[in-house]
Point group: C2
């Protein structure tokens, strides 16, 4: 089933009517709005939709419309007989999943839109958080539709409170409340207070008289009501509301259409050659939910019959630059952020402590299961987190080996490794296209080449780069990825020996040339920005082991007291887990694949589940002690204003705990199932896999066989990487993957949705979040399959 669409058409003005409480007059106001729309926009079609109705059918709200707003189309999608909350009324009945109900609403509205201009009022049931049939509260259920809201206030005693709270529940789910309507009431006069209150939010509060009291005689009652509705529908207030809603609808679309042009003029984009983009190529994002953006349909894509649709779902295939763990617009992350904002805002962290920071530190230190790590330093992002890590490691090494601060001390890294865009983090990367043009860039270190892993023709191959063939020998093929990752077996077969010998040789060479080193810094398992390379973990483990036992090579210090196994030896080992850590690859840490413990470990991106920037650098006691002295100036003199900001920490705490819970409750069981992950693992089908991916094995297998187009592919955790064959050479400047990216962006024209992905030179990667559903991944896998097939034929 296609992802759920937001409801926005140029011609059809869709508004959702929410109530601050049950029995506040939602149907009465909606009837008046329907009548007024029908009379003022007489040539257009006005429609009333009740997605879920409870209570006897003959008392249903759409009957009310039929009776009091003749000429207005009306419909109910689900009808339950009991006059109670839908979730209770639906008990024992067949309940459609949320996605199905939402799709029904979309299809209904879509059909209305094909009939030309008009109004569609969608009335909810009960209050904003009254549960829908599945039990999901309506405010949560309907957010994905991105309908602007008309909120019906409560005019009774206590109604001010209910109206404000209902407003807040909507607002914190990203709803735009466009108008607040309320019955006139001289006793409580909630209207006056609410008008003042919502003026500061720029939301008009409009009042109408209450309906007359019910008369016992049905005929008279109907007559009196009809007169009431007639007057209401013809009132200046009703016209005023509708005019306002009409203007808001037009303004929203105009703004959406103008945004890419404005952005093109005013924004300076990161990593973007502006000369190579046009305002058309800028994606306008109206909202986002789960794994999907809701994007403006580009004008070039408009075709007969559906040019009217303004927004479409776009799968966020880069997980928004690798940040998304728990999905866009996740209410529990929002609440965590809002709670910390309300409780603290931000508070000074130097010399102070607050609960979210401390609890996060405790959770990370215990979750990471690395006996070396005892301290948490907070900074703003992966780049600053790496700078902090490097400052830590260099100091520790310098003091132990007795060097001065002005000596050239480099790091040992991996070719293509990438650690961020601040100058200090850039200096950790070998010279490349990314940095060779940067005036202050000055690469400080040496960078090892390494064997990588790809699935080719259905087999898992460890590819040795040409430059290393002499030392490391030839490619090796394995039947499964877990065979490659089975470090213990491979070490028992002494496969690491050849790696270690080579590494020792290279290090000795550099040291003989008077190079000094202060740290081993690398991304465990996957080199991210450097080209989505899956690195042989045995090789990375060999690097760690060689570095740790080579103290005599690096300096002339007497080695430390070896009685403390958590004390660093040789050089401090820094793992940059910014991209790979926190369940990206299916595990809390990526380093667990290496069975090696870092002395310093950097975490960001998924840390906050995809909401706000925050980074933590974890360090061992033996690193920490290098900064202890009687001199203030020996301290780690690094700190950002928003260090350990409570919002970031609270969100991270919620996010890490939620992912830990998901792991415990086996929520990725579907992906770990060998039916799905297939040849990623060598385990029997009965076992849940240790090496698994949300991307299905049959897709991977098929891609790996398209050898004319594809050099190889791999998937692990939420990441899928497709290495295209590139006539124009590999690397950042290659355009080989752009065709596939384009095809995914064109997407499914029939169902109007697409996939927004990023390329790194000849590599196209797609990654889901940790909340991605089997259904969505299956849909996207089909689209990838289709895109590659089409491309194949075309080329």
């Amino acid at each position: 089933m296609a992802p759920v669409h937001p409801l926005l058409w140029r011609s059809l003005r869709v508004f959702q009517v929410y109530g601050a409480n049950t029995d506040v007059g939602k149907t009465v106001f909606t009837t008046i709005l329907c009548r007024a729309a029908n009379s003022i926009w007489g040539k257009e079609q006005t429609t009333f939709l009740k997605p879920v109705s409870t209570g006897p059918e003959d008392e249903a709200d759409d009957r009310h419309i039929q009776k009091y707003a003749p000429g207005v189309d009306r419909s109910t999608l689900l009808q339950y007989d009991l006059a109670i909350s839908p979730h209770a009324a639906a008990k024992g009945k067949s309940v459609p999943p949320d996605k199905e109900l939402l799709s029904k609403i979309y299809r209904f509205a879509s059909r209305r839109a094909t009939h030309g201009p008009g109004w569609l009022f969608i009335e909810t049931a009960g209050g904003v958080h009254s549960p829908g049939p599945s039990g999901t509260t309506q405010a949560d259920l309907y957010t994905v539709l991105r309908c602007p809201v008309v909120l019906i206030a409560d005019s009774k005693l206590g109604g001010i409170s209910l109206t404000i709270s209902a407003f807040e529940s909507l607002k914190l789910r990203g709803y735009d409340v466009e108008a607040i309507l309320v019955f006139q009431d001289s006793e409580y006069d909630n209207e006056r207070y609410l008008r003042d209150y919502f003026t500061t939010h720029g939301i008009p509060v409009v009042s109408l008289p209450k309906p007359p009291s019910r008369v016992h005689d049905g005929n008279i009652d109907a007559k009196v009501m009809l007169q009431y509705y007639k007057e209401g529908g013809e009132s200046a207030a009703a016209r005023e509301i509708l005019d306002h809603l009409d203007r808001r609808h037009q303004a929203r679309i105009e703004r959406l259409e103008a945004m890419s042009g404005e952005a093109y003029k005013r924004i300076w984009y990161p990593f973007t050659q502006h000369k190579l983009i046009s305002s058309d190529s800028i994606v306008v994002i109206d909202g986002a939910r789960g794994d999907f953006f809701q994007t403006l349909v580009p004008s070039t894509k408009e075709e007969a019959g559906r040019s009217d649709l303004v927004l479409q779902p776009s799968f966020d295939g880069s997980a928004s630059w690798w940040t998304q763990g728990l999905g866009h617009g996740n209410p529990s992350l929002t609440m965590a952020a809002a709670y910390a904002a309300g409780r603290y805002g931000h508070v000074m962290f130097a010399g102070a402590v607050h609960e979210p920071a401390l609890a996060l530190a405790e959770t990370l230190l215990s979750g990471i299961k690395n006996p070396r790590l005892t301290r948490v330093f907070f900074s703003d992002n992966g780049s600053t987190g790496v700078e902090v890590a490097v400052k830590m490691a260099l100091r520790a090494a310098r003091l132990r080996y007795g060097w001065t601060a002005s000596e050239d001390i480099g790091i040992i890294g991996l070719k293509g490794g990438y650690h961020g865009d601040t100058i200090g983090a850039m200096d950790c990367a070998e010279p490349s296209t990314y940095n060779e043009n940067i005036e202050w860039y000055d690469g400080k270190g040496i960078w090892f080449d390494y064997p990588t892993i790809k699935c080719i023709d259905g087999q898992w191959v460890i590819e040795v780069p040409d430059t290393l063939r002499v030392d490391l020998g030839h490619d090796q093929a394995f039947p499964s990825l877990s065979d490659v990752f089975d470090i213990d077996s491979r070490e028992s077969r002494h496969e690491h020996k050849i790696y270690e010998e080579y590494i020792e040789k290279v290090l000795s060479h550099h040291v003989r040339n008077d190079r000094k080193f202060g740290a081993l810094l690398m991304e465990p398992v996957v080199i991210g920005a450097g080209g989505m390379q899956l690195v042989d973990p045995l090789y990375q483990r060999a690097l760690v082991n060689v570095v740790r036992r080579s103290a005599n090579l690096f300096g002339s210090s007497s080695e430390v007291n070896s009685s403390d196994p958590t004390c660093w030896t040789g050089l401090p080992v820094i793992f940059d887990e910014v991209f790979t850590g926190l369940y990206r690859l299916g595990r809390f840490t990526a380093s667990s694949f290496l069975k090696s413990d870092a002395d310093v470990s950097v975490h960001a991106k998924l840390l906050t589940g995809g909401l706000v920037p925050l980074s933590t650098t974890l360090a061992s006691d033996s690193i920490f002690q290098a900064f202890e002295s009687d001199d203030k100036a020996d301290a780690l003199l690094h700190g950002h204003s928003y260090t350990a900001h409570p919002i970031g920490c609270q969100v991270a705490l919620e996010s890490v705990r939620q992912m830990q819970r998901m792991e415990k409750q086996d929520e990725w069981g579907w992906a770990k199932d060998s039916e799905w992950s297939g040849c990623l693992s060598n385990q029997s089908s009965a076992t849940k896999l240790e090496v698994w991916s949300i991307w299905p094995w049959n897709l991977l297998d098929w891609i790996s066989n398209q050898t004319e187009l594809v050099a190889g592919t791999w998937a692990l955790g939420s990441v899928l990487a497709i290495h295209m064959n590139a006539a124009d050479g590999l690397g950042y400047k290659s355009n080989a993957a752009l065709k596939l990216q384009r095809a995914l962006l064109d997407g499914d024209k029939e169902a109007m949705w697409n996939v927004h992905s990023r390329v790194l030179g000849n590599v196209l990667y797609i990654m889901g979040s940790q909340k991605s559903t089997k259904d969505d991944i299956a849909e996207i896998s089909n689209m990838i399959h289709h895109a590659l097939t089409t491309q194949d034929r075309a080329s």
Copy 2:
């Protein structure tokens, strides 16, 4: 009046009872809780407090307690006769300001606490957002008290929605809801749904039977009710709730007391020499509101009679490392953050645009009133924002002057200037204590010394440092700060000539020595981290002017087409307004004091009003164009994962607009008044001042006369700086200001509040937010006065 205290005592368990709606049984439940507490904790005192009661006195809730929970103390602080919302009932009556009502509650609870252990239940009126007497809704009014909440759910139709919304309104204000109570109701059974729902939040939902229907005969009714309360009070459910609340109370205090010890073990603090701190010195922050933290009273401070009080208000005198603009826990910033979180979460920004980012870019570009600036680049904090600015400027200069990327290109800066802690930003600062120990630090540039401004003996003196006396002559005294800032008059008197000649001489010298420069980078008006120096703006203006007209000095390029006045000349000029901008000094930009327009301008800290990290680097078209080419690799290759994160942008938008509104509505009128700002300005008392501060002139004048202790002082906008005389030399390592800091931290022992401030070597500074009130600033001014007086006598 002392700032409002949070309500937390060791012995007295205080809980606030909120209702999901009016008429949900708040008083019934509270009566049962009171009875149960009174019977189970029989030797302690149980108290019921209704801060604000409406309706006839003989129907008041405290009478109900008297009748049905004998032995329980009860009290009402404000009584209004009409049975409507307090804000309506209070109409025409004398209404105490919120702060007074809150202080009354504190004093009441404080008195109870002195009587020994017990329970205090504070019952609110109506729903969570029902307005209090002043019109502030209760949820907003009472947050500062930090009372844990017992929320009474609504058991009626629609009650699920109301309960969840009420919970969310509380939660997003930082309330901790500790229990949810609800009447049993077999028809709607809200209890079942709510129990499932709140289990995920770890909050117990407990139900009790409804009270019997009211009987007409008052005596019988009372008897029936008494029996109901007897049963309720003795029920297992009531005991269960109270045991839970008791455990939560104890756990909260235990955690607060353990936090500094845990933090001492697990946190690695920024800019902190851990060997010089103890766990006692770590401030435990339980919450924050407005300008005040709510901090754990250190155990050393406990004295007889008040050792029981756990929390105290602490003025956030560093504005939390200069971030706070609109106060801690500001609900409008929280809502902005929550809205963006709900609508988007974070979304990929490269090649995409969303409303908050675009609207913020538009608002900044139009607000800054600098015709040069046309582009906005987003990053995470001031440090990265400066790195981006430097990358921009160096590229532009290098291309124009035809240098290669590997050449040494430096910046022109100011001594003591500080731009952040990432390596690239550090490299912009001259060698100093901050960076001389950092392995990869490599200062790139030259740094000018400069004349500074201080108030000494009531006069405003431009102090020329010894090193510049030969060139710039001697100190100059002015009657007012605005005379110093009157650039036009001073230029008409040719005071800038001597500055310009000196600057030209120094630059020529360096260029003759083959130095290359790529930018002029400085903090306008105030050198922040470098020691809170107020710099002569005429000197900074002279720097800009000399640099701009010296193209021939810097390189051999033909000068650009001079027809475009927004095109940079000489060198790109970067203003680091991270600390000084966005109303810190009373104006949108600090550079407006210089009457100079930057080519690149960096903004952070106050940008988001004090909530989350975000930075913007604004640039001119002539800078932007330097990156346009047909080669991807010529782009500005910088970008953070959370670039332009919607939460940051939405909060910044709200914050900037709110400060602009405050300026327009003259909300700082009290400070601009010449009665208050006095000799900051030379203008007549009738005029609102252009140069003003929230710190009163009489304080400044007095401090400036304590010449034995104080070398000088200044205040501008929200900043007050006190330069202490230092026997141990000036600068970062001096301890001269620590005594004063200590005295402020000890604070007012009688009223139990204090001031948390930061020192920079011999300088103690205190800054408020842009929302600081005249009352609070007057209180703090008194405390400063008192602290300095005591110190004077002691030394």
